[in-house]
Symmetry: C2
Subunit: 321 residues, 2 copies
Amino acid sequence: MQTDAVRVVLLAGGYGGAKMAHGFWLLGRPVELTVVGNTADDLELHGLHISPDLDTVMYTLAGVANPESGWGVRDETWSAAAMLERYGAETWFGLGDRDLATHVRRTELLAAGLRLTEVTGELSRALGVSTRLLPVTDDRVRTQVRLADGWYGFQDYFVRRHHADDVLELRFEGIADARPTAEVLEAIGSAQLIVIAPSNPFVSIGPLLAVAGVTEAMRASAAQLVAISPIVAGAALRGPAEQMLRNLGHEPSAAGVARLYAERYPGLLDVFVLDRADEGLAPAVAAAGLSPRLGSSVMKVEGDRARLAAEVLELAGLPAW
Amino acid sequence: MQTDAVRVVLLAGGYGGAKMAHGFWLLGRPVELTVVGNTADDLELHGLHISPDLDTVMYTLAGVANPESGWGVRDETWSAAAMLERYGAETWFGLGDRDLATHVRRTELLAAGLRLTEVTGELSRALGVSTRLLPVTDDRVRTQVRLADGWYGFQDYFVRRHHADDVLELRFEGIADARPTAEVLEAIGSAQLIVIAPSNPFVSIGPLLAVAGVTEAMRASAAQLVAISPIVAGAALRGPAEQMLRNLGHEPSAAGVARLYAERYPGLLDVFVLDRADEGLAPAVAAAGLSPRLGSSVMKVEGDRARLAAEVLELAGLPAW
């Protein structure tokens, strides 16, 4: 590690978090990036432990992500899934052959007694990922959502039911007993900049910040805390964030997200980055007590990712270039 | 079931057993075939329960076996194996993507509390196999072989070391506590014909007959008992049977196999089928106390399989045609 590397911690879900992490990686400026990933959308399927958010970040940083779907591996084959279907197994959660190998290996290493943190490190290193990727906790936390007809596991709602339903309530099963890992606390404690990725505030960032000790460590850190809006011009970059905001009584806008963060975590965040398209919402963000800054949070091509990362460093007084 | 169906039980390993089973299936004459399969070469790899012999029989009967390799599934892809290799997992045991799905599903169903017998039935039915395929036992039995430098698991010797070593001794871990299933005992008890497939007498047939109660049930059965030589003209149809016979002090010939069966299981078998190429060994088989019959035990094409099955039925006075 070069002594002038900026120590950045990125709190990340899957899609938006992965792109943001990739942006930091693409920068020329030395950044010692630690991604703290969400595990509350993990699931067990066919006896395998699947960590969709961690995998999306890992595959993206390894350069093997499927660029079309936003999940899974590129150049994927689907032979095992076809066979599992013949066997009458559940196939609503798409498992490509390469992706399946990840889950088989993860499950094998967990069964051998490794912590999820260690397993994630081993898988990432094997794929050539130099960025440190940490699950926020090694403990089991599972997001559940209440829909009109009852409680569902997150992936059941998100994948099987295509996140079409209104979410009336959220809970994180296991959260009371979950603790952040020592690695996560250390990374937060020594960070110069902590970034909340443009991820879903309820189901990606929410469970991360709900693990007892995480927000405390963030408050105790000397790092600047910057959140990036996952909503641009009233629409989610991807996924159900906009609908969830509405369902749960918030304004479906960048300002709504800013207010949500400000109300739930008073005084935690310093800066809130809005897309330039939402410039008119800056006063509302300021009224919520966060310092509004304009950035380019829509990441359509790889150059956008690096640009946003550079903007975030710039805003934090740690210019990339 | 038609009332005139011949009730046949086939004791089978992988390759030769699968071909023999397929032969019975190919016959026009109604045969109610039950294959009792070897599980002592099962292994756990990547946390998955793999049953190579059962799978070879199942894939063969389902018409999805790889005809070149003699194991695995045809039209296979290898994406997961490539990924597992990147992850540094053990890759000496070839796991194609479709095959991997079988092991994932088996492991899932076993973890859900099903017996291996039930799992095997469910997988087979899903692949359209009408023949009943039964593991000899639901209990854990594992063949181990002593090589020059110590004891090895069977697949470690067979696949990883390409069965090149001399086998000095054999043992079946867990055999003392293993019991045949009720389904196996019932099938043996009601069989009209019990056939020992042209499989390795030590590691395919040996562990089947070593499960306490199997030979007793065979003796109590009214069925004719016919064994088919896995050695033709001094060479194994496939695999290390010839070398094992030599290593373990037996003549590497059909007569050597006949004597081995006659000595280990006195009075158990009625008929021993030699290939026509071994006609000269018939007196030696007779001297061992088995009734020698000539057949065509080399099964190169599918027609050979049906022909051998028909010959075996014919020998037993239950003509196929």
